[in-house]
């Protein structure tokens, strides 16, 4: 298997190293040293969470995708604090595009950045075509499975997609023959993130979190992250967690910061709670067609708003949020 020179795979090392390390031994030691089992309150503002737990050069992963359950209030705060030279998992779309537009990203493990029915992302196009961002390409499943491998604490996971695809040349993953069946499989390297960022329906002050509806890859990303920021629509009493322990998707000891962010996914949606803000999205898509427009959008909705509250005011206030709630499809 030849490896792409610009890819995440550095063959000058032995064994070769990836951007987004599969070294589960290093990860084990990190978690042992840094994760606390104390039941201590971790509720803080977006500002504090990003200032304390995101550093220049970090590899960041957002969950979920598109306009669904996106931790936008955290993404905007990262832009406000202009964290630089980031590596990002190219799965989130609104979040990733914000960081790309702000010029904060050096490297992406990308699976899909686009707006579904509204087409390709002009921000992604400019960033990649102008050579501002290095990329390696993966399938959607592969990205989630790489996180799953890290979550399992193993350096790789075998899969049956990505075989025969030229993506392997860009990302350096290797194939092997299964000793039991003789089947060919791709070995995906585990992906350990510096920072994972997840928006959930509810969390207690310690970080125990629950998610309604589809689970995306929240469980995997939470477990694959060295540092983990949770934003939540609602902060609940820990007894609510203890009453239904099978609903805990993210246990508190994985979590470093809990941010209370009602309508934190705006302009995206939150299942059973509020609809995505289609008019705002259309305006945004119109703006980002040009570099200037994208910068104008950032200026107006990110840089010139000091925090999530001011952002909500700017996009129409709590009245508009209330209407988005009413529009949501309920259980």
């Amino acid at each position: 298997m030849k490896h792409h020179q610009e890819g995440p795979f550095d063959t000058s090392q032995d064994p070769p190293t990836f951007v987004g390390s599969p070294d589960v031994e290093v990860f084990r030691s990190y978690l042992r040293q840094h994760k606390s089992f104390d039941l201590k309150e971790k509720v803080m503002s977006e500002h504090e969470a990003v200032a304390r737990f995101v550093s220049d050069g970090d590899y960041i992963g957002f969950e979920l995708y598109g306009t669904v359950r996106c931790p936008m209030s955290i993404a905007r705060e990262i832009v406000r604090q202009r964290k630089k030279h980031l590596k990002v998992l190219g799965q989130g779309i609104l979040e990733v595009d914000l960081l790309l537009a702000a010029g904060l990203v050096d490297y992406m493990d990308i699976t899909y950045v686009g707006y579904e029915v509204y087409g390709v992302s002009p921000i992604l196009r400019r960033a990649v075509e102008q050579g501002k961002v290095r990329t390696a390409d993966w399938s959607n499943g592969a990205i989630a499975w790489r996180l799953k491998a890290a979550a399992m604490g193993v350096p790789f996971i075998p899969i049956r997609s990505m075989l025969g695809s030229e993506m392997l040349k860009t990302n350096g993953a290797v194939a092997m023959t299964d000793p039991y069946t003789g089947l060919e499989v791709v070995l995906l390297p585990a992906l350990v993130l510096d920072v994972g960022i997840i928006h959930v329906h509810r969390a207690d002050p310690y970080g125990n979190a629950q998610i309604d509806g589809i689970q995306g890859f929240a469980a995997e990303l939470a477990r694959a992250s060295k540092k983990l920021i949770i934003s939540a629509e609602e902060i609940v009493d820990p007894e609510e967690i203890r009453k239904y322990p099978e609903r805990t998707i993210i246990p508190y000891f994985l979590v470093d910061a809990v941010v209370h962010a009602p309508f934190g996914s705006h302009p995206g949606e939150m299942a059973y709670m509020y609809e995505r803000d289609e008019p705002h999205l259309k305006m945004y898509l119109q703006k980002i067609r040009t570099e200037e427009g994208a910068q104008e959008y950032l200026e107006e909705y990110v840089y010139s708003t000091a925090n999530h509250e001011e952002y909500i005011e700017k996009v129409g206030g709590w009245d508009r949020m209330k209407v988005l709630s009413k529009l949501a499809v309920k259980r």
């Binding site: 959607n140 949606e269 299942a271 129409g316």
Partner: protein, 318 residues
């Protein structure tokens, strides 16, 4: 009587007719959603929609506009996660998958990554997304394409999603699941399949009014042309009615005259003396046709507002 229909509507109907009942289909945004919904209503009532982010078995009472949104798992059987869904497919439980691409080659291999070189692309496309997993793991994929010479190419700029690779048994030899692969290519000109042995693309049937020559002209590689080529039925009246009236009545995907868009207005309510935000729907001319929700909670008030808003009275109501 000649029925009017758009190229999109034709594609939807052709795709909807391909399913087998009592199977599952991976649904992507757009045409696949409409095709699956149409098939469920008319042809394969037990077709189970599966969305790559986790929704399985929703009756799709509300038309989704994104693959992860709440509508994809409204009253679903199961709201899972990405790994679960991909593994369900890896285990062989997903029969159909839809794929689109910027380029396709004679063996059904697809490019959704770059036009030009990977290092210095002329156009950076969105990327593989779930397409590579769908194309690798489902039993049968249905590829939806615009039939153009620069899209139907002998050699892809980048092989994102495997079809039959170099043809013959090369797909299986690469380790991809035995018996899986591209099933049909549905275009604005024709429906195509693949030769059983060589796995090269083969014309199966022409869309109404299209000639074999037109298909050849718009294909950048040599197609297998059988002696007998059938002609696809145009969308039936029932198909069009169900599509337009039941599946996408608001014209979110279909460019129907009734097409509507969500908008917000602020409205000063005289009763409560408060300014409320109101969600409305406009038709393509900008006229307000519906009031959906209001930030004021008083029901009676809403009705009064509703009438005023529908009359456009909010404009002079600061």
């Amino acid at each position: 009587m000649k029925r009017e229909y758009t190229p999109t509507e034709l594609l939807i109907c052709l795709a909807a007719r391909l399913f087998e009942d009592r199977t599952t289909a991976f649904i992507g945004t757009g045409i696949p959603m409409l095709a699956a919904a149409l098939a469920r209503k008319l042809y394969t009532p037990n077709l189970v929609p599966i969305f790559e982010f986790g929704g399985v078995g929703s009756p799709l009472e509300y038309l989704p506009r994104a693959v992860g949104e709440a509508r994809t798992f409204h009253r679903a059987i199961w709201a899972a996660g990405i790994c679960e869904i991909m593994e369900t497919s890896q285990r062989g439980l997903v029969e159909y998958g839809f794929l689109g691409a910027a380029q396709i080659d004679p063996y059904g291999n697809l490019n959704t990554t770059v036009i030009g070189s990977y290092d210095h692309p002329k156009v950076r496309l969105p990327g593989a997304g779930g397409g590579n997993d769908v194309g690798s793991l489902c039993w049968r994929t249905i590829i939806l394409m615009k039939h153009e010479k620069h899209r139907f190419v002998e050699r892809l700029d980048f092989l994102t999603t495997p079809g039959y690779l170099e043809g013959g048994d090369s797909r299986e030899k690469a380790g991809l699941p035995k018996g899986s692969g591209p099933y049909r290519v549905v275009t604005n000109l024709a429906v195509l399949g693949f030769d059983e042995k060589t796995k090269r693309m083969k014309l199966l049937s022409l869309n109404p009014g299209v000639t074999v020559e037109q298909v050849i002209e718009n294909t950048g590689f040599e197609l297998i042309i059988p002696d007998q080529v059938e002609v696809n039925d145009p969308p039936t009246e029932e198909e069009l009615r169900v599509l337009r009236e039941e599946i996408d009545p608001e014209g979110f995907y279909l460019e129907t005259v009734s097409g509507q868009a969500l908008d917000f207005v602020t409205f000063h309510c005289r009763k409560s003396r408060k300014t409320a935000t109101v969600a409305i729907q406009r038709d393509r001319t900008g006229r307000i046709v519906d009031v959906l929700a209001c930030s004021a909670t008083d029901q009676e008030c809403e009705q009064e507002c509703q009438e005023a808003i529908l009359k456009g009275m909010f404009k002079d109501n600061p």
